[in-house]
Symmetry: C4
Subunit: 368 residues, 4 copies
């Protein structure tokens, strides 16, 4: 990105969000029916390049199974409500009845309950027995404590996800997670993030991760920019991290680390734009919070929304517009990019002449 | 357009919409009365460089006749309501009474009725007998199936119009329309589009088309950007395609292919801007949907609004502000650019010192 | 201004409005009391660089006299209501009672009454007898017809004002006004405009004009951009015309033609910005339409708002916030830049270290 | 900053506000608990780089004491309500009951009461006896008159604060304050401003000031841009003045003048951005006007809001969201950046890998 002066003592680069860009057609068109959106990471192949985010309003063991059967990968939040409570359903129903402030307080309360290792085991077992790819997520802070439980329970894919995760967390109080060692010793592929820059991503790739998450992974209504001053315009972040993937591929002699856009993907057009900027796949939350079968009962929240000291987001309410299957495959009854995500992605690729996700990364974009 | 980095692995160009630009006066002024906005394509001369879009809410055989008599070209949608129903008027009246969601469902239903070749013949005959230039449109998907019926019925101009039409549609399932062959074998001039880039347009020009449509041709409220991530900022698209016209003129040894802006033209000022960017003529829908004599009864929709699997737009309602003739020639009673389109174009040209549409393509513009 | 590509066949410059820019302080400050905003054009010296626009809602003979006594120049519209009617006051009062559409229709009707040469004489006599500088305006279309009446009546300054006035109006129907000859033969200094570009302004300067108006001179709510596609971002236009002044000063061996910003000046800050871009003075309408003593009774309109064929603006209503004197000199009771215009200009100059209008043209600006 | 043309006769630089920029994470992360936000200026060390602005709605002797005990520096307005009235509390309570216009008028009235030197002495004594750092502010216009009273009363830090303060105020009527002499003769460190440019700041630094204020220091709802046309986009202003600090450090052989951002800091994220642009500390008003213990009773105003001749701002009302201590240190109950300012700053620094304010000035920013 072009650097310029903010003022004499400070330079900056211009960064772009998905809203700032648009895809333009090429000289060729194709049939949507001939487009493949299949995605393979490590030994696992998925019909869809869409990962359901490990958020309690979106993923439960049951939903992870259903999502896997639909061709995607559902990641279970292993330090959320499902590993703190035997039966969280009444809690989720209760929260759905509360209004704003009361809901936040109740959520803060709910998440003070301890994580139970045996529930981690139980939840993952349930997903594994359904025959779909098993994936669970922990925050970097808790990875050391619960990783063994997770691995013993048996996962196919391990996700370490925080608002900002670096390969070099410095702390003098507790010995921080050594990502490189951790991943090296683990038998299963690890997806780790979020990150937002070329350098941060390159260092994460060097830890041996199979994939990196680009973005904050915050809920749909996070206010990180207002509260912390930090923001990650996603189009630029994905394009930067895609360059890290390319350079690391060369540096490592051929290791292809997947770039997974995680944030600001609320509409089907955003999925196409994320890939156009270089993503291999996307991790999404809010689109599935609109599902009639979502655990959140029409509500959606990220972990940052009920932080005890410094909340940085809000619980949001969505119209429940259809089942997860309808949201993925249509038919759509709305024109706002919230239904038939896969159909929209295929049509976007076909209209611009592409049949494979990897090739579609080359599609031309404009800022507008 | 200047290319710059979105991020390290992705470059983009800045693109501009009509709203981003403005025309500036030159050192000369003229009388509006001395301005000619006449336009000639192939053997056909029109007093107005304005084509009424083949949309059921805007064009019927009757309206195409009226529009032709007013000096423009009205294109009939040959796969719309007029070629599916003997008498569509009751259906249009019915839909006008329905509210949003019900209307969409009813429209989806209405458009499942089969297209009848004999109605194509009948509708075109009606227009031809009125003595105006006869033009009908098909989508690329249906051109092979119905082209013979159209040609046999006798048209002066054939329009192939889709959201994105390329000279090279790749399909393994059905043999796609070979545009070049099709146009070569046809006796009548063909206008084809939409397209949005220099390269796509150049390839369309090489098929032998007499004119290319620039843009999506979607209805006034299409949501392609949100649903597919695709957008065509029109000022840049028209200026790119105008460059293709220039280069093809040289490459072909003198074939002048007309550039017709088709999209984002809602106000009289947009017509002037389209020409300022290099258009020879414009195709417009929504301004005529405001006519008291429009088939849509004050409503307007594009084919994308009732797509069965992936609707990408909404039916919109307009105030009916006057007859088509008043909308074209005034006198205007409103100050918002929706009436006296031709008077406004002439005044825009006169104020900036131009008397011919072709010369007005050179007028200075600024971004603002 | 930097040129760049809109698309391959069209280049444009980026233009800026007053809203796009801001003035920045320098390393020096001064006392507002020591600032002079005096302005001299030809033999006439004014305490204020502010001309009241020749609009019927703002200027009457009585208001022109009062404005002159306050230190500015009030220009009477010589083809407006005061030269069509012996006693326009009942009409102005009547219109003030009508709502939007009815008011427009009544205004259209009112302005069809013929201009009476004897009223031109009478109105100008009234102003002259009051001992202030006498200035009247005509449109270029009517200058030939009424100029003699104006000159015979005796004016100190003649204003030719239209939305866009060029030195080279081309017409085959009637012999157009030859500005150069007209000005050469006239004994009084002429101010002419609007214009918007370097070249157009340079040609106007070569006609011998004492001052040029930069901008459209439209009413506060004109819609020229929407209706005609034409717009004049004022900061760029003033800065371009100021360059023409500089170059013409050299070319003519010392003739200094005054640059008068006429448009988009609604707040006191805009006056400072106009001068910062290079204006010698400003012509303003809407700020005075807010006066309790304005002829418009709280309403404001430009001639373009009641055009019979193509209205390009609306009559707007303002709060009547104080007398003309209070609007010029305060004390202000509001914080929105509509009162104490002169105090604000002086404070702006003092804060940035300037004491003379001509020097203040050099103040630093930023875009923000 | 890059210069470009507004028009042929005027160049400008692009300037950026805090809203225009965002901080991006680096490749390292840290624990918020290990971040220090301590700040030292001259002999005074503070736990927080946050100065409470000398505004009557925010600071009283009591609040200055409390603020000092919380680790910051509270500056008392020495020409405000506390030095004009023995007991201003009833006045503050009265004003809080009045609505907009009446409040403005009453404030104008209240501030016409004379400043009493003995109250300056008394108020400062009260703060000093509480054992916190004592700081008071005067405007440049009144510094000569009251400086002796201030010094005699005993202050640790002297603040000269106006909307725009220059090292070279030119006046022929009264001998202006000679800042250089004044500061040289004074025994206590002086903080002076606002200023907005490299040159103005450099000259202020050369007067011997210990710190310079960057910005206008206006209230949260000032309208200087509208009224005067003057604006100081803060990100650029801070970055420019930080360059002056660096160059003056070299020029002076090692004098480090502190850069204090004063304006446009309404949310916790703005504090982080101000430091990211090069500030050593921030002076804030509106965030503390939200405190339940603020003198303003939920209202906030700057001196410019009740200017007698040219008011340039409005009194604004805020929700009272918690005590000053909660606003500084949380826990936050809102997600909009108005609570837990210090916690947010620490988290912002930790997330991007920094532990010291001075180092955090190097964090990467983007415009977005």
């Amino acid at each position: 990105m072009t650097e310029f002066e903010i003022g004499r003592a400070k330079r900056a680069r211009q960064a772009y969000s998905f809203d700032d860009i648009a895809i333009v057609p090429s000289r060729r068109t194709r049939d949507p029916e001939e487009v493949s959106v299949a995605w393979q990471i490590d030994a696992y192949r998925f019909e869809l390049p869409i990962i359901a985010a490990p958020m309690d309003s979106v993923m439960s063991p049951e939903r992870a199974i259903a999502f896997g059967k639909l061709g995607g990968l559902g990641v279970l939040n292993l330090e959320g409500i499902w590993t703190r409570y035997e039966d969280p359903e009444p809690l989720l129903a209760e929260v759905a009845e509360l209004d704003g402030l009361a809901a936040t307080e109740r959520l803060q309360e709910i998440y003070t309950a301890p994580i139970k290792a045996e529930l981690i085991t139980e939840r993952l077992r349930q997903v594994r027995e359904a025959g779909v790819t098993v994936a669970g997520s922990l925050s970097p802070q808790r990875t050391k404590e619960y990783a063994k439980a997770v691995v013993d329970a048996g996962v196919d894919m391990f996700v370490i996800r925080g608002t900002t995760v670096s390969a070099e967390h410095v702390s003098s109080q507790a010995e921080p997670l050594n990502l490189k060692e951790f991943i090296y010793e683990l038998d299963v592929p690890v997806i780790v993030g979020g990150c937002a820059t070329y350098t941060a991503a390159l260092h994460l790739m060097r830890t041996g991760a199979a994939g990196v998450l680009v973005g904050f992974g915050g809920g749909a209504a996070h206010t990180t920019r207002t509260v912390l001053g930090i923001a990650v315009p996603m189009a630029s972040a994905v394009a930067d991290v895609a360059a890290a993937r390319r350079d690391y591929l060369d540096e490592s002699g051929g290791r292809y680390v997947h770039v997974i856009a995680d944030g600001s993907i609320g509409r089907s057009g955003d999925i196409a734009k994320a890939i156009a900027c270089g993503a291999d796949a996307v991790m999404v939350g809010s689109p599935f919070a609109r599902a009639t079968d979502a655990p959140g009962h029409g509500f959606h929240w990220g972990a940052e929304a009920h932080h005890a000291e410094l909340p940085r987001g809000a619980r949001v309410q969505f119209d429940q517009i259809g089942t997860t299957e309808e949201i993925l495959f249509g038919p759509s009854r709305v024109a706002d990019g919230t239904m038939n995500l896969v159909g929209a992605l295929k049509r976007s690729m076909a209209t611009t002449g592409y049949t494979e996700v990897k090739e579609f990364q080359r599609v031309e974009v404009v800022t507008a």
